[in-house]
Amino acid sequence: MRLPSTPFVFAVLLVSARAAADEPAAPAPGAPAAAPVGNRFSLKVALGGDYRSLYGVPIYGGDAHLFIGAEMGLFAVYGTAGLTIATTQYGLATTIIDLGCSFERRFDRFTLGLPLRPSYLRISRVTTSGALDSLGVGVAPFVGFDLLASEGHVLFLAASMNLDEYLVGSTSFAWGPTLSIGYRDDEPP
């Protein structure tokens, strides 16, 4: 499969996030002037441990995700890119690539989020040199907790549930949790 180059995708996400962060929220016509809530650039990286079940086959692995976006008061929107390297119970190499977006709401030190993402799943065969692969769409609702925070630098934990439907050929549903630790860098207000 030929995917857009990773630097290109990240550059698009970065430019979009910067543009969103530079635009102040417009007040509603006739509304009293509220305290301005500036949009702030935000970046997250996270590393996680993953479990998936596909047709009852257990898949274990690790993932890395990059989030680039903007915080708007208590809300945040990110473009996301992720790579999961895993193996099935008996050793079939598994790769998942996902690109999407994430909508998040902060509650003090907690965060609730809903990433939406198309993804590509590839499982290597052992009987031939080929692979089973498919494209799908999914969501990964999560709850996060800020462990440490200092001047816009945040160390956080997150637990998410991955729900992905793969659509090519016969449809297949993969689900499973991810536990992550990550770093968030918020631009100072």
């Binding site: 499969m1 052992v126 009987t127 080929g130 090519v168």
Partner: protein, 115 residues
Amino acid sequence: MRRHRVVLLTVLLAGAVVCCVGIREDELLCEEAAAHLASCCPGFDVSSLSCSYNSGCGSTTYPALSIPGSQCINGESCATLVATDVCQRAQQAKAVVENEASTGTGDEEFAQVCP
């Protein structure tokens, strides 16, 4: 804008058709069983076991191991697979070919591999 969305959707659909073969349950479970057998059974030739599904030209080829057969193998320990001759029977299992003209489901054609 609407035109752009149509173009984007078309590109995504075309990409999906070109890039992927899909993930069938019988193929994945058969491949997983093959990997398990390869690690359990001394001398097991994994490349001689067919776990592919192909359809066309009036016939359909199914993986040599049925879904229940693969699930059974995946649930057994290495000691059990060796002791009950599952290794030997799996090595001899052949892909099931169903012709378009036949009326059966094909399920009855799978060899009994796992006790």
